[in-house]
Structures are given as C-alpha cells and as structure tokens.
C-alpha cells in the first residue's frame, strides 16, 4: 500500500516526474551505449589480431599500417617490394606469413590479393565453392555475396584504387569461385584473390596506358616492372625475441617497418579512452543533475505534503513508513529512468551500429547485456535516487504532527 501511494504520487505530478525521468534516461542511455561500445569495440579489435604478432609494411604511421592491413579501415601507408618482404617471410622464426596486396575494389568492396594463409590466419571457412587458385579467381565475403546477390560463377570487373568511382579494369574479369561463411570479422566485407591476380590485372593495365602519366595513389600497386610490390605482410612468429627485436631491426635495415598490432591497438584504445571518459563524465554529470531535480521536486512538495504525512501518521502510520514512502517515490523514478535508459541505449546503439557498419565495416550488437557493468550502473542510479531523497525523507520522518496540524 505504501508502494501504491508512492506510485500514485509519482504520477500525480507528471511534469516533475517527466523531467526527472528524462534526465535519468538520458544519462543512463549515454552511459550504457558507452559501456557497450567500448567493450564490443575492444573485443572486435582484439579478436582480429589474435594470430598476428607483427605487420610488415611501408614506413609511415604504424597505427595506419595496422588499421589498413588488419582492420581494412584506413588507406595503407604505401607499398613494399615483394622480394624484400619475402626475405623476412622465409626466416625460420616465422610460423606463418600472409602477404596482402591492395589495388582494386568492386563497388567499394576491397579486392585483396593474398594466399590461402589468410583464411587459416583468421579461421575463415568457405561456405560454398573453393579457395582461389589461379589468376582472377576470387572468394567473396558473406556480406558482399548477400548484399550484392553474388553467387559462384559470377564475374565482375574491378575498379582501380579504393573508391567506387574509379577507372574500371575491363581487360580482365574476376570470377567468383567461392563464398566465405559468415564470421563477423572484416573478411565478411572483403574480396580475396591471389597476389598474382592483383599484379597481372595491373600489368595489363599498365600496357594499355603506357604513355599516360601515372598518378600515384596511396595503396595502389604501381609500376610492376620496377619489381613486384605488395602492401603488407601479416606475420605470426615462433620466437618471442623476434617479436621484440624485429620492430627495431627491420626499419634499420630495410625500407619497411614492422608494427605490433597489440601495441598500436592499445595506443588507439588509450586515445579512444580519453574521449569515452569525457563522455562518461558528462553522462554522470547529467545523472547528478537528475538527482538534484529529484531532490528539488521532493523538497518543494514537502511543504504541501506535510499534511499528507500528518494524516498518514494520525491514521497510524509509523515514522519509518513515511521515510520509506518518500524514498520509494525516488526509487520508482530511478528504476523507470534506468529501464528506459537501457532501452533507449540499445536503440541508439542499433543506429550507431548501422552507420558504423557502412562506414567502418564495424558492427555492434545492441542486444548484448553486460550484467556487471550495467548492474553497477543500476546501483549508481539507485544511489543517486536514495541520496536525493534522503533529506526530504528524513524531514518526513521527523515531522512534528501535532505542530503541523495545529498550524494548519
């Protein structure tokens, strides 16, 4: 019954209630989005670099190299000579090496020249067909096949560079020989072929446009006659010493660098973390304001409600019941605000996921529940509510009924 009174009281002043709930909902949804984003983001990033100790690539920003080669999120810093890279790939400390050659795209989806090691490295399975073996055979990612309605045996022409609107290589068509099973990794959005396919596509291309001045675009495979080039090599090493020393040795002795995904991604998280912390503080600030709003709403109505409290007391209610009544009203607000916040947070994440999937090939799962973090958030919300209601509740508790009624 005290619960019923509290519940009815909550809705008796709809504007106050609305304000408090809106503020609570805003802060809870922002925090829950951030919690989910951060966790899933780190999970995705960590999952993709599981099998990669070092990445060989052109000198430049190591973070850019990692982002472009492991996550396909950025343009690569440049190209490296295949012969030079091969020397390191064949060293005994290397357990496996995956060369990557970028050059073309098909409707915005990157075509990556590599070996079947790529599939092993990322634990990818072929759902239909077989692995690419000869020139111009490709395996397409599950999402591409689904989005573009591609099937085995289909052919298409690649476009030069990484933009959809480029020069079309219409001398050779790529032929789809396999489709990857859905993995949730970047490969869902990739078209894989042999490294030679990428080279040959451009050999031919070059002959056709021999006289034209060649504009060097980052990430493309240029001038194959000067020596075959690739973009990067993903390395898994046997030897921890090599993991430590190669990032120093390689840039000293070659035109390449070796970057550690773990290191670079940690750096990225650290950068990212500052932003997320700032947003979290903002959200906790909003929560504080909602606490103040609850406090003001309860405190303001105390004056008119003291007769209500006196009435409850003369019908036999104890002081504790009054205390509980006021606390409960605040707790109701907090629970409603929390539930709405969690729901709106999910809706928000769904939209973020949709747009980030388009832009960065990064999808988030809005239905994941983080019991620990969101449980903590719930406790934080309740604490704010209880603290906000404490002074009004104590005032109700210590109300002098006789005096209140005598002065009525």
């Amino acid at each position: 019954m005290i619960g019923k009174i509290a519940w009815k009281n909550t809705w008796f002043k709809p504007l106050n209630t609305f304000l408090s709930i809106v503020l609570l909902t805003a802060s809870v949804s922002i925090i829950s989005i951030l919690i989910l984003l951060q966790k899933q983001f780190e999970e995705k990033f960590s999952a993709s670099m599981d099998n990669i100790d070092l990445v060989l690539g052109a000198k430049g920003s190591p973070l850019q190299l990692i982002l472009s080669s492991v996550y396909q999120m950025d343009a690569p810093p440049g190209n490296i000579l295949y012969t030079e890279a091969e020397a390191w790939m064949n060293k005994p400390m290397v357990e496996s090496a995956v060369p990557l050659a970028y050059g073309d795209n098909y409707l915005g989806y990157k075509i990556v020249g590599t070996t079947d090691n790529y599939l092993k490295h990322f634990n990818l399975n072929i759902e239909q067909g077989k692995v690419f073996a000869t020139d111009f055979e490709v395996v397409v990612g599950a999402n591409i096949a689904q989005n573009l309605g591609l099937k085995i045996g289909d052919t298409f022409f690649g476009t030069h560079g990484d933009a959809e609107e480029g020069e079309v290589h219409d001398h050779h068509a790529y032929k789809i020989v396999g489709i990857l099973a859905h993995s949730g990794k970047v490969a869902d959005q990739l078209i894989l072929s042999t490294v030679a396919s990428v080279w040959h596509m451009h050999d031919h291309d070059h002959e056709g446009h021999a006289e034209e001045p060649h504009v060097h675009v980052e990430g493309e495979i240029h001038h194959p006659h000067e020596g075959k080039e690739i973009t990067a090599v993903l390395l898994k090493l046997r030897n921890n010493m090599a993991k430590m020393t190669w990032p120093r040795i390689i840039p000293q002795n070659t035109e390449m660098q070796a970057a550690s995904p773990a290191l670079e991604v940690n750096r990225l998280f650290a950068l990212f973390g500052v932003g997320i912390m700032a947003l979290k503080y903002l959200a906790y600030g909003i929560m504080l304001i909602s606490g103040i709003s609850i406090f003001v709403a309860l405190y303001n109505t105390l004056k008119e409600r003291k007769y209500e409290f006196a009435l409850l007391r003369i019908t036999g209610a104890t002081k504790m019941q009054l205390l509980w009544l006021v606390l409960l009203e605040s707790i109701f607000l907090c629970v409603i605000g929390f539930i709405l916040g969690i729901i709106f947070g999910r809706v928000g994440l769904y939209f973020i996921s949709t747009s980030s999937q388009e832009e960065f090939k990064l999808a988030f799962d809005p239905f994941e529940f983080l019991w620990k973090e969101e449980g903590m958030l719930f406790i934080a919300t309740l604490t704010v509510g209880i603290i906000a209601a404490l002074i009004p509740a104590l005032k109700a508790y210590s109300l002098n009924i006789s005096k209140t009624l005598a002065n009525a």
């Binding site: 019954m1 809705w11 005598a406």
Partner: protein, 209 residues
C-alpha cells in the same frame, strides 16, 4: 470509553495548561469548547496521543496510553482512535475510496474495501468513491474524513472543529451525523470546537478557560 485525570501540558515554561478531568462513555458525545488559546487543540492532540502530557493519565478502553512508546502509540492510534480534522486532508493522488481503505490498511494491515464502500454509501457518497478528493465539495470532503475516521471501528472519535468550514445547514447535518454514528458504532465522541451552532446540538459540554 475515555477518562483523563490531572492532565497538564506545557509547550514552554511560560505556557502551561492544566486540563479539567473528563470522561466520555461509549456511544456518548462530549463537546469541548473554549476561546482560542485555551488549549482545545492541544487537549485533542493529547487525547489522540500526538502529544505526551507533562503529568496525569489518559485512559482509553482501560488502558493508560502514556505507557506506550511512540511506535506503539502510532499503532494504537490507528486501531482505536479515529480523528476528524478541521481541514480535510487527503492523499491527493489516491481516490476517495483508496483514501478510506488506506486507513484500514495502515492500522490493521488488511484492506477493508467492502466496509469502506458501505460507510461511504451510508454517508451518501456512493457516486463519488472513484473520484479524487479534490473533485468533491467541502461538505463531501468532510464526510469522507468521517468515513475514514470510522473505518477501523474506533472506540474513540476525536473531531477538531469538524464544522467550522461548513454552512449552517451542513454544520447541523454533520453534527447530527457524528452524534448518531458515535451511538451506532458505540464509540466515544469528543468534539473540540468554538462553533456556537454545535452547543445547541450536544448537551454534555466542558468549557476550557
């Protein structure tokens, strides 16, 4: 049944009240009158256990209520005393019916919904039970107060200026109603008032000075 003996009370050293002994049997009505400042409301609060006297005894149903702790007094008040106040106070967010039922829940832990409906219709409020208290007229609100005071079959009904905000006609109706209800429910009714109109209705009177 209520009796008092040598009850005194002081708010501060300057303001001391010494109240005459009074007694009111079940079914009887006692009118307490007096000018402002003579301690009418203070006496009523003492009788209702809202205040504790400096000395003296207050016996309700053969029990000295002064031996109770505050919490026990809250429970005793809920079960045995019905109070009707000068102004009508309600839980504004609850319906008329819920306001009356609430009193039974607080006192006894169970909801006497049917009984509340019966008392409300006895008082002519059957059409208003689901309205909010603020939607009723003042006379109707005062009757809801009476219903709430009666819901737990109190052995003592304390009324503080129950008619002061009513017109002549309604004042008379309410006074008569209270007196009849006290007889019907076998409760002692004590009415504190300076309302001259009531002096004509009730014979037993004590005047404070």
């Amino acid at each position: 049944m209520i009796q008092t003996e040598n009850v005194t009370f002081s708010y501060a050293t300057t303001q001391n009240f010494k109240f005459p002994d009074l007694e009111c049997a079940d079914g009887e009505t006692l009118l307490i009158t007096g000018n402002s400042g003579t301690g009418k409301t203070t006496l009523l609060h003492l009788l209702g256990g809202l205040l504790k006297p400096t000395s003296g005894t207050i016996t309700i149903n053969e029990e000295n209520i002064l031996k109770y702790s505050n919490t026990q007094l809250d429970a005793f008040r809920g079960k045995h005393i019905g109070m009707i106040l000068q102004k009508s106070f309600f839980i504004e967010a609850l319906s008329v019916l819920d306001n009356v039922v609430l009193a039974s829940w607080i006192a006894k832990g169970s909801k006497a919904t049917n009984k509340a409906l019966k008392i409300l219709s006895d008082l002519g409020l059957q059409d208003h039970v689901h309205k909010l208290p603020s939607q009723l007229s003042i006379g109707q609100q005062q009757r809801v107060n009476i219903a709430r005071a009666l819901i737990n079959d109190p052995s003592l009904i304390l009324a503080d200026e129950p008619t002061s905000s009513l017109d002549d006609e309604n004042a008379l109706i309410v006074a008569q109603l209270l007196s009849n209800l006290a007889k019907e429910y076998q409760s002692s009714l004590i009415v504190v008032t300076h309302d001259q109109r009531l002096k004509e209705v009730f014979n037993r009177q004590i005047t404070l000075s």
